[in-house]
């Protein structure tokens, strides 16, 4: 699937992927996010939908695509919880937008930078989630910053492993 011309993509460093990768990777992230905690003693110190959102937003270098993907993934995650639908949606919308915006300005081929971006956006997503819950909605929600920090670290580690694997699925021009 190529939305842009080959010359433009080559100039801008925009990567494209097969349709199946676009469709199955987010779905797999959502399903695994819901299923894996059962295998790892209930620990949810990872956020696969966020990692996938950041990856595609960085690779596509398109803030709108990052925004839409983040919103979709976040709303889907919210729908699986018993909380209000939209909290994760807003957090991941902002994360996808920022990743798409940053992708224009940084070298998205550098693994270290991508890992750092994932770490920072994971923390930012947690801050936004907490702020929406406590400030915007005025609901009581206890929070463990240590857990959120651990989640950001684990997300960065997952990104280190997952991003090179997804890079292999790129469409070669």
């Amino acid at each position: 699937m190529s939305l842009l011309g080959a010359d433009y993509r080559r100039d801008m460093g925009v990567h494209s992927y097969p349709v199946l990768v676009y469709a199955l990777t987010p779905l797999a992230a959502l399903v695994l996010q819901a299923w894996l905690p059962r295998l790892v003693l209930g620990y949810t110190w990872f956020d696969l939908p966020l990692v996938v959102t950041v990856y595609f937003a960085l690779a596509r270098r398109n803030p709108i695509q990052g925004t839409l993907m983040g919103a979709g993934m976040g709303l889907f995650e919210d729908a699986l919880t018993h909380h209000a639908i939209g909290v994760n949606g807003i957090a991941k919308t902002v994360a996808g937008f920022l990743a798409g915006s940053v992708g224009v300005r940084i070298d998205v081929e550098n693994h270290t930078i991508r890992t750092m971006v994932t770490f920072l956006l994971s923390l930012l997503s947690s801050v936004i989630y907490f702020s929406i819950y406590r400030v915007l909605l005025g609901l009581n929600l206890e929070w463990s910053w240590l857990a959120e920090l651990m989640k950001a670290v684990v997300n960065a580690l997952i990104a280190m492993v997952l991003f090179p694997l997804l890079d292999r699925t790129r469409v070669r021009d």
């Binding site: 059962r38 209930g42 709108i64 018993h82 639908i85 939209g86 915006s101 005025g138």
Partner: protein, 433 residues
């Protein structure tokens, strides 16, 4: 104008999506009477539709993953030729689980019996109709401790049904989909279960904290609460049956918001992070197996026979007490004639042979009060002749008559005014002919 939209296209899209989600959020939150915000316990139709879509998309792959995992595990176990042992082990495990549930209920009943309540609550057993289900997925978020089971409306599951394991309670059904259901675990921050500490009988509400540990909140400081004490369901929340194990007190920490209160951290009895099979209590009507019903019928029969025996013994005891009352020296004269003369027969004419009159034909014996050794004016039976009382017997010293005109040492009478005995009483209290 066109250049504005083109230039700020990214930001405008972002703002539009954020605005739409914020509006959606605002529609899901309501303000309670106490002035605090809360989420609607019942999802709006639109929200429920979104959840249903998400469930429809995620559940089939999750079920496939789960089935694949189970198949792989099963294949491995069968491959090493442990099939029969494994099946036997599973049967035994089920039996143990069932017995543990029954033991928990019986233990609680026994304790209640110590408090003199077990007899009345005998039929409130914790043997309820349950539906086994497999835990197949989670919410994927540590701020939402919910998980999904593979049974839903197709198995007649309903909202607010209790979910347990043989080890202890797990949570309650929060939402039901056609082929799955969402269960809110007891370690979620928004859950609430009525619990009671086993020995101190302190009640509280169990809910999760930020790191997913169940804790009992809103308890006044109490030094009696010690780590290791068992926590049971109190049964007051109309969701969890009474007496089911919840966990064990791990530690007591001060409530950060209120000085005089403490939070009791509880180690859950059920392995909330390793849930495979759970039981959903679909009916709280007692369901006894055939053998137990037969035992109960036998017990009822024996109880009836025992009650009849107790009633018979009570009647015998009553009869004995009546006999004893007749023989009490303070009420009847042991030296009085054995038989009261028949009606119309003068006492002097009574023949010895007439004493053999059947007791049923004779009128009931009239109790006769004995003469006191030193009577005074307050002695029962003293009175003036005008009141129909007889004079003092001859040979006894006559005391001054008080203003009331009552004569001391007058002969006692029965309550009916009849002379109980025409013979005078002596100092010994015995009457003589």
């Amino acid at each position: 104008m066109e250049s504005f939209f083109v230039r700020y296209r990214n930001l405008l899209v972002l703002l539009a999506i954020l605005l739409a989600q914020i509006i959606g959020l605002a529609m899901q939150v309501r303000r309670t009477d106490s002035g605090r915000n809360s989420l609607d316990p019942q999802d709006a139709p639109g929200v429920r539709l979104l959840r249903l879509w998400a469930d429809t998309v995620v559940m089939p792959p999750e079920k496939a993953f789960h089935a694949t995992r189970l198949g792989a595990v099963s294949l491995w176990q069968n491959y090493i030729d442990l099939r029969h042992i494994h099946e036997q082990n599973q049967d035994l495990q089920k039996t143990i689980d069932r017995l543990r549930l029954e033991q928990a209920s019986l233990l609680e009943d026994a304790k209640q019996g110590e408090r003199l309540q077990a007899l009345m609550d005998f039929q409130q057993k914790y043997i309820y109709k349950t539906q086994a289900a497999q835990a197949i997925g989670t919410s994927g978020s540590d701020s939402s401790r919910v998980f999904y089971i593979d049974k839903g409306a197709d198995y007649k599951l309903e909202r607010d049904m209790a979910v347990i394991t043989p080890d202890g309670i797990v949570g309650k059904v929060r939402d039901v989909f056609p082929h799955s259901a969402q269960v809110l675990a007891i370690n979620d921050q928004t859950s609430g279960a009525g619990v009671i500490l086993e020995t101190t009988r302190i009640r509280g509400i169990l809910r999760g904290n930020a790191v997913g540990r169940p804790q009992i909140v809103g308890i006044l400081k109490d030094d009696r609460i010690q780590p290791g004490e068992k926590v049971l369901t109190a049964g007051g929340d109309l969701i969890f049956p009474r007496g089911l194990p919840v966990g064990m007190v791990e530690k007591v920490v001060p409530d950060p918001d209120r000085d005089s209160f403490v939070d009791v951290i509880v180690t859950p009895a059920a392995h909330l992070n390793r849930l495979d099979e759970v039981l959903v209590i679909t009916s709280t009507e007692p369901r006894f197996p055939a053998e137990q019903q037969q035992d109960m019928a036998t017990s009822e029969m024996l109880k009836g026979a025992q009650a009849a025996a107790i009633a018979e013994a009570s009647r015998e005891q009553k009869k004995a007490s009546e006999v004893m009352a007749e023989r009490l020296p303070g009420l009847t004269d042991p030296n009085a004639p054995a038989q009261t003369p028949a009606v119309g027969t003068a006492p002097g004419n009574a023949q010895p042979g007439q004493s053999a009159t059947p007791a049923a034909a004779a009128p009931p014996p009239v109790p006769k009060l004995l003469h006191p050794q030193h009577p005074d004016r307050f002695t029962v039976g003293t009175g003036s002749p005008q009141s129909g009382q007889t004079s003092a017997p001859a040979g006894q010293e006559k005391k001054p008559t008080p203003k009331t005109g009552l004569k001391p040492e007058s002969k006692p009478e029965s309550k009916s005014g009849q002379k109980a005995n025409p013979q005078p009483a002596h100092a010994g209290g015995n009457t003589q002919p």
